[in-house]
């Protein structure tokens, strides 16, 4: 063998050895721990997300599906939107921490021809990652809870997985050893309605804004990387006969800084935009635990506006 090619052979042999000696045993340990922890994760918010995806398969088309992060999960009222538009509605609001790519990719796989997708934006555009839209730990927590979604993981997400796998696996290891079911008073699957709305905060007093969320001050428009990816998905959906709309998220007046709202909510998306970001800014008292999670009782203000725009858009001639 010629020397330059022998070098390639040596490199491949080393990589093979690395996979055999290190990566495969490591992956086996990780898989085992997360599998043992599975029973203790049932009922958490990530199970609820899987339920929502399942609803998208079981609720017959045509239907309206509101896709987005937790702003959508908390603010959308599927019943009210159904009444104002006449369509069945699934609130598929997930968790913005999963990143826009994960949310869009997961949701797109469950939309059927004739469905109406309403993509609810988030302030900060899914944490404003310029290079990665799918990087946050949340997505891998979702996978650890719902491993059958591994088949939908993209190459980027596989590459990013090592950065989170240790943290997620360690948390699951502790849960498994303690024999403690993952629990949260608000973010749990049993309080998701049959149409995906959050109901756990019904009648509850608002809590303090989560400090980490309060610190987030987004002042940038949507990332071009985001726009390109979202437009590719929208285009694909439209070709499949899915109507796509973009809606603005409800947010508190203190949080959404009005002078820059047009900039921070600007996006070059190839879909009809419903209304404008200013009309869905509400009083601070109408929010629950963060400045964009609406209190259960106040959702009607947001849904009246969203329903109105959606009805008009659906009735409008193409």
């Amino acid at each position: 063998m010629q020397a330059p090619f022998k070098l390639l052979w040596l490199v491949m042999r080393f990589i093979g050895l690395f996979i055999l000696v290190f990566l495969l045993p490591y992956a086996a340990v990780v898989a085992y721990i997360n599998w043992k922890a599975l029973p203790f994760n049932q009922g958490n918010y990530y199970t609820a997300i899987a339920h929502k995806l399942h609803m998208m398969d079981t609720v017959p088309s045509p239907k309206i599906v509101c896709i987005g992060g937790s702003a959508s999960a908390f603010s959308v009222d599927a019943g009210q939107l159904r009444d104002s538009t006449g369509f069945k509605v699934v609130n598929a609001g997930m968790s913005a921490g999963m990143g826009y790519r994960s949310i869009l990719t997961l949701a797109a796989d469950h939309l059927k021809p004739g469905d109406i997708a309403v993509f609810v934006l988030e302030h900060g555009f899914y944490f404003n990652r310029q290079n990665q839209g799918n990087g946050d730990k949340t997505f891998y927590e979702f996978l650890a809870t719902n491993p059958w979604y591994l088949k939908q993981v993209t190459l980027d997400q596989w590459i990013n997985m090592p950065a989170f796998v240790n943290e997620v696996t360690y948390a699951n290891y502790k849960r498994w050893k303690a024999g403690k079911v993952h629990g949260d008073k608000i973010y749990r699957s049993k309080d998701i309605s049959n149409y995906g709305d959050m109901e756990s905060h019904k009648g509850q007093k608002p809590t303090k804004v989560i400090p980490a969320v309060k610190r987030m001050k987004y002042r940038k428009p949507m990332s071009p990387v985001f726009e390109e990816y979202a437009n590719r998905i929208f285009d694909d959906l439209q070709k499949r006969g899915v109507k796509v709309f973009v809606a603005y998220p409800a947010a508190s007046a203190t949080y959404a800084w009005k002078p820059t709202l047009d900039k921070t909510m600007s996006a070059n998306l190839d879909a009809v935009k419903l209304g404008n970001p200013h009309e869905v800014i509400f009083d601070d008292t109408m929010f629950f635990d963060t400045d964009y999670h609406m209190r259960y009782e106040y959702r009607s203000s947001y849904n009246a506006i969203l329903g109105h725009h959606l009805k008009n858009a659906l009735n409008a001639k193409p």
Partner: protein
């Protein structure tokens, strides 16, 4: 095309296979491949600027013949034309907006409102590097150290050789060019060392530098520095020093390692600068290719140190001023350069600038107490000045430094937090490896180690890259220069 991208991995493999398939006997054809591959590599960023690269290459190639003229007056005329051409390109693409804005500010101070036309096409990647390659060729011909090359492809391979095209090291015609004029023989040991050096470079960039960058960006982008307190700001400054070192020396290691795969040796750019015992030694160990370029083509022609200490100090200050300006069209870089010059000047005056030319604590496991103190002092000075380098403007740097000094009692817990943070641990690992390897070319020069231990180290480094690689990988800082 970033070194740390999948596209580059495919590109490198394809070029490597083609290059050695052609064989060393057909080295002219190998040079054609290098030029084409380099143009593809460059166009990956922005194909529009490829024309500028080719134009700049053509100009210096042509000037090479004219500058070689036995008529010294004619040669000098063309030398100056070449300088004007090269600096003209730099001035237009890199400095025009700076001068135009400064002119407007200056006029405004007299009450005259001026609205100069500003260029919006952005800075061509690597412009400072390839223009300096070209100038080195013309200068070397003028000084009789190099003969003009008759073959444009060989010359273009020297100017645009892809491992060093966008961020150096800044090569010298009399070092790199001769390597393109003769067959390259594949050297297995050299190639293996290249792979080791690339692995080390990737570790420094992806794990150390990008890890530090997250902390640095968060702190620098924070609006209120006084709220953060001295400790946080101090660590932001320290982490930036680690970041820029990991970033730039990591890039240089990848470039050197990559070049070794093609049987071509390029200049070393870093020689463990954090083990410097004074500022003069730091500049003999940091960005060597730029320092030696300025030394040979600016400092020496100005008279160097031949005409007394005061002239040497004047020349040194001038070199540092130009060096600062080379880094970017911003007052932060200029002041950064001048301040380094001011720290350097007393060493010339006392003769201490040539004091530490040996390997620190050669043959010893640990540095002496005295050397630890000297290294720390140098590190602190360099770190403080890097605040200017990182800041976007002088007011930002001023606010940062002021808050660093004036809020010592705030957030004392940050000391333990940052000392035990992942970026700090990786920075210390890099320093430990490099201390052990300080007599060698790079930190992972472990060819003499038993095979089992060596493989264990490679695997550990690879595992660290896989598990600790930052999701938001940063572009290499020096691309902007």
């Amino acid at each position: 095309m970033l070194f740390n991208s999948a596209a580059f991995a495919v590109f490198l493999l394809a070029v490597y296979l083609l290059y050695w398939s052609i064989g060393s006997k057909q080295f002219r054809l190998q040079n054609v491949l290098i030029v084409l591959a380099s143009y593809v590599f460059y166009s990956w960023w922005d194909w529009r600027f490829l024309g500028l690269l080719i134009l700049s290459t053509l100009l210096d190639f042509t000037y090479g013949f004219w500058v070689a003229s036995p008529d010294r007056r004619k040669a000098r005329l063309f030398l100056w034309l070449s300088i004007i051409n090269n600096f003209g390109i730099l001035a237009l693409f890199k400095y025009y907006n700076f001068f135009a804005s400064e002119f407007a500010t200056f006029m405004a101070s007299f009450g005259w409102e001026v609205h100069p036309y500003l260029l919006t096409w952005g800075l061509p990647v690597g412009i400072s590097f390839y223009t300096f390659h070209g100038m080195s060729y013309v200068f070397d011909i003028y000084n009789g150290r190099q003969k003009p090359i008759g073959n444009f492809v060989h010359y273009a391979a020297f100017v645009c050789y892809f491992p060093l095209l966008v961020a150096g090291p800044i090569e010298r015609a009399n070092h790199l060019l001769p390597q393109f004029l003769k067959p390259r023989v594949f050297d297995m040991e050299l190639a293996k060392d290249g792979l080791r050096q690339m692995l080390w470079g990737f570790f420094k960039k992806l794990v150390m530098a990008d890890g530090c960058a997250i902390v640095v960006d968060r702190i620098y982008q924070h609006g209120d520095y006084s709220e953060l307190g001295s400790m946080n700001l101090l660590f932001a400054a320290v982490f930036f020093t680690f970041q820029i070192y990991g970033d730039f020396s990591g890039y240089s290691d990848i470039a050197m390692g990559c070049s070794k795969l093609f049987g071509i040796q390029i200049l070393r750019n870093f020689n463990y600068p954090f083990f410097s015992r004074n500022i003069a030694e730091f500049w003999r160990r940091w960005h060597l290719s730029l320092s030696s370029w300025f030394r040979d083509y600016l400092y020496y022609p100005l008279g160097g140190s031949q005409n007394g200490k005061w002239i040497a100090i004047r020349n040194t200050l001038l070199v540092f001023f130009v060096s600062g300006f080379w880094h970017g069209a911003n007052w932060t870089f200029i002041i950064w350069g001048i301040l380094h010059g001011l720290l350097f000047a007393p060493l010339i005056f006392t003769g201490a600038n040539r004091k530490f030319t040996d390997v620190p604590d050669q043959g010893k496991v640990f540095p002496s107490i005295g050397n630890i103190g000297r290294m720390l002092l140098t590190f602190i000075l360099v770190t403080l000045l890097f605040v200017l380098f990182r800041a976007e403007s002088m007011p930002q740097a001023g606010t940062f430094l002021q808050a660093m000094i004036s809020t010592p009692g705030k957030n004392p817990g940050a000391l333990l937090l940052w000392l035990t943070s992942t970026p700090m641990i990786f920075a210390l690992i890099v320093l430990a490896f490099e201390w052990v390897a300080r007599e060698k070319v790079h930190g992972l020069d472990i060819a003499g180690m038993p095979a089992f231990r060596r493989r264990l180290i490679y695997m550990s480094i690879l595992a660290c890259i896989i598990f600790f690689k930052q999701l938001e990988s940063q572009e290499f800082i020096y691309f902007q220069f």
